[in-house]
Every structure is written in C-alpha cells, then in structure tokens.
Amino acid sequence: MAKTWIVLQQREGRISRISWEAIAAGQRLAGELSGGKAEAVLLGSGVGELAREVAVADLAAVHVADHEALAGYTPGAYVGALASAIRDAAPDFVVFPHTYQTVDYFARLAHEAGAGLLPEVTGFERGDGGLVFRRPILGGKLVARVRVKGEGPVLVSVQSGAFSADSAARGGSAEVRELPVDGAAVRADREILRVEDAGGDQVDLTKAEVIVAVGRGVGGEDKLGPIRELAAALGAEIAASRPVVDNGWLERDRQIGSSGQTVAPKLYLAAGISGAIQHVVGMKGSGVVVAINKDPGAPIFNLADYGIVGDLHEVVPALTEAVKEAKGDG
C-alpha cells in the first residue's frame, strides 16, 4: 500500500501553522494514492508532548525522532536522522512545509536518501497516468503541471497557503512511535553562533491601516517622489518588495514578504509589483488590494480586488490628484 509521510516543522516547542497545512496536503495525497492515512514525522529533543498534540490529527502514526542533537536545526543532523529512515521505510511521498528551513536541507536529503525532489507545490490532481502536481514558475507568471517518474520516494514541499491548515482532518488518535536515531549519523554540520535581526525593525508596518508598496517597476530611488506624495495623500506607510530593497532604493525594514514583514492593512496599494509568492505571503491578508502594473499578465492581478494596467509613473500622480480631490470634496 502506498505510504505518505509528513515531516513537521517545530520551533520553540510549537508546531507551526504551515506544518498543519502540510498535514492537510499529506492527508489528501494519502487519500488520492490509496485511500489510506498519512503518517507524520517529528524531529526534536524532548518533543513527546508535541507528538501527542499532533496525534489528534487523522493520521496512521506519528513517528518521533527524539535526540539531543536534534534540539536545534542543522542540516547535518536533520539529513542524518531522516535519510536512513526514508531509505528503510521507503514512503512513496514525503511532504514538507515549504519553509526556508525545509529548502535549506531537503534537496540534500533527497540526494542522500536516493529520493526525487519536487519543491513548492501548490496543488495536485489525478490526471492521465497518475498524479499531476502544480507549481509556480517564472515568478508566478506561469503554472507548471509536473509528473513524477522513476522509482523510489519523492520529497514534496507545499507552498505556504496552498492548503488550508483548518482543513487538516482531526479527531484521530494516532499511535506515537519512536523513530530510531543513529547517534553517529546525526551530527551538526554547522556551529551556530547567534541569531540577529536582519535589518532592524524600527518601522512597524504591521499597524499601518493603509500601505503603498512599490516594486522593481518603480525603476529607481530617484523615482520614489510621486510614491511618497501618494502615500502622504492617503496617510499611508511606504513599503517595498524585495528587489527594491536589494537595490538600496528603500530601507530593509520596509520590506514586505517572506524575508520581511507580514502585514494586513485595510488597503494595500501595490505599484510596479509583479506579485511573486515571496512578496504575496507577506500581504495576502490585506483587506482591499489595488494593483498597478504595466504587465497585464502580472500575477498580482490574480490577487488584487482592483487592477489598473498602466505605467505607474502616470497612474500614481493621477491617483494622488484624485485622492486629494476626493478628500477635498469630503
């Protein structure tokens, strides 16, 4: 019978929400494959309590690799613990949450475990000749449908938000089992020195009610003036997608997205932002989203409530005028 594993991510004694999304994805995948139940895998040190928390999900088992070398994350220890387990149990699929930590080690794990690798899946369905997985390509401008071929397990990561954590079936009482850990194989391969703030969090964008965010399309630091005027007219904070910050046009503490802040303002106005997933995960909870982009195929329009296809250098000043007019009337 087909076997599906789900490798959970925990931090500071908590199962992350995206791990519950991975559980939901793994349960669906197991159902598609054989109608059976998935099994979860939890790594850590002293994580028995957490395992029981996971066991309420509708799963066949929760395998716990409990070892002091797994107290903190390092790729050496995680790959060491999982590679032999995957080789021994030979699950058909191993589902991971698509996080920075997962991507840091799971390609290496695939190599060491002799498994295939399918990162950043957003969905799957049964097609001709088996399961077909969807994943974004070219910055989310296109969607690829991908099939797995060959023999052996495949490691799959599921993109944040692609499966609903609340849809994970609960009400089970999965058996918690020990996953044997070979102490010689589980070795840290990096010496952690410290964790620090990436760019200082002087600007707290999470409290802003209105945000005007700019992307690469703004074209340069010298072209931010009209953006600032629109933000002033709207009483908004200015924010940016990653390329703007990488180019030094705005400070890093104004970055929205997976490596920046996560915001949910009443109104989010995205100008010259294409809408790559790394940005979208930081703003998809916004109330009303307005997108201005010269490319009608920009993925941001799939998420926006209102869209204008046009040159932001023309639309933004016009918008500032229109906002001032409207406020004057009001």
Partner: protein, 266 residues
C-alpha cells in the same frame, strides 16, 4: 582561494512570455535571456572572496549554446575561466540531475576549490535546490539563502549568515570547502568594464559533455530526472480583480470612487 561559481541563464523576468508549441515550456525564440538574479550576486561574492584571498573564480553553467553569453559576461566581470556543460543531453534536468552534473564538473577541476557559490533560486523553474545537491554530491557542508560570508582561519572555515523567516538571520561557522547558495541583496554587483569585456574574449571557455565527466547520459538532463513537466499555462489573469480601464486620470478617478463607495476604505 579558488572559487567556483555556478550560474544559470534564465529568461528576462520582465519579458513578455508565450507558451511554446508543445505546451511544455515557454517559447524561447526572441526571448531575452540574462544571468539569474541571485546568481549575479553569487558571482559578485565569489569575485570578492577571490580578490580578498588572492585567488580566482571559475564560472560553471549548464545549458544550450546561448549560455555562452552568460559565461562571457561572467568572464567580463572578472572570472578567470568558464566551464560550459553544453551537451544537449544535460538539458531538461531537475535539481538533482543538474546539481550532480555540476558537482562532477567541479570535482573534475584539478586545482580544487575552497568554496562553491550558487544563487539561491532560479527565476525560471525556481527549485531553489541545485546548490544543496551540488554539496551533497561533493560531500561538503552547505547553506542556503546566504546573506553574508566571512572567510576565517586562513580559508579553513567561514562565518556564514543565513536568512531566516520573519526578519531574522542566523550566523554560524562552517568548515570549508563548502557550498553556499547566495541570496539576492548580499552585495552590490559590479558592472563590466570595457577592459573586462575585451579581456573576456581571450579567456578560456571549456565545453563538456557527460563522457568528460564520467557520467552516463541516462543519468543527466531530462533522462536522469524524476520530474517531467507535462504542461505550462498562464493562470487565469485578473481573476477576481476588477480591472479599471481608461487613461491614467480617468482610471485614477474611477478607482478612488470605488475605494470610497464600494470598498469603503477611503
């Protein structure tokens, strides 16, 4: 220290894309290509490490004939030599097939490398995994999403900064040699000088096939992959969004009206 930098040539992310006739990839005819964004940062970081330690950069790339443009650019920026995995058998590979082939090319270099740098993720297929596979195949430690590298212990180790989620960085020591997958924004990449462009024309570009690397052609490229792209499509455009038409002034006024009366957020 000698530094290997793996770069990928990808379509210009701003370009207008079309699906090709077999429906399995984008139409590459007339499509502008460039060095993948995070790979440009990896190349710059490699050049800085080589300059600071008195070494050189060898640039590696896998892909068809057009990839020579990317290699020439890397040579113009300061790489000493280029290695091109140019055989058609290499193309269409997943991260595992591509990473293993690149690792074999790195291993083939007789003088050896102190560090291998890659970008963190390609802007086309975006597996984000090739560097880690190179590391696995070489048996070296690695890190992904690297935002800082300080070579220490006379080249025996590096202090590496890795980006984590929610605005935090983790700093750790890694023994060298290692593979580091560099995140965009780690530095400010230089521009090629006219002198560099002229010099690049005389620098060596070595073309390799699977046999040169001791690899079975069935283990590389599409044949050696576990993934097969069935089709590529545009997601339904503007799904859910109300698209507002008209010239800038008209559209701006219509939008503000909707934000006030319909969405009630102004």
């Amino acid at each position: 220290m000698r530094v290997a930098v793996c770069v990928k040539q990808v379509p210009d992310t701003e370009a207008r894309l079309r699906v090709n006739r077999d429906g399995r990839w984008v139409d590459e005819e007339d499509l502008p290509f460039q060095i993948n964004e995070s790979d440009e940062y990896a190349l710059e970081e490699g050049l800085r490490i080589a300059e600071a330690t008195g070494g050189e950069v060898v640039v590696f790339s896998l892909g068809p004939e057009r990839v020579k443009d990317a290699l020439r650019k890397a040579l113009a920026l300061g790489a000493a030599k280029a290695v091109h995995l140019s055989d058609p058998a290499f193309s269409g590979g997943d991260a595992l097939a591509t990473g293993r082939a690149l690792a074999a090319a790195v291993r083939r270099d007789e003088e050896g490398f102190g560090v291998v740098l890659t970008g963190s993720q390609s802007d086309d297929v975006g597996y984000g995994s090739t560097g880690s596979v190179v590391a696995g195949a070489l048996g070296w430690p690695h890190a992904w999403l690297v935002m800082g590298v300080e070579v220490a212990d006379g080249g025996g180790a590096a202090e590496v900064t890795r980006e984590m989620e929610s605005g935090k960085n983790e700093v750790f020591r890694l023994p060298l040699p290692a593979v580091l997958a560099v995140q965009a924004g780690i530095n400010h990449p230089r521009y090629a000088s006219l002198k560099g462009i002229m010099q690049a024309k005389r620098k060596p570009v070595e073309a390799l096939g699977p046999a040169d690397l001791g690899l079975d052609p069935a283990s590389v490229g599409e044949a050696g992959s576990r993934l097969e792209i069935v089709s590529v499509d545009f997601p339904a455009s503007g799904e859910g969004a109300q698209m507002i038409e008209g010239d800038a002034a008209t559209a701006a006024r219509a939008l503000v009206e909707k934000l006030r009366t319909e969405a009630r957020v102004l």
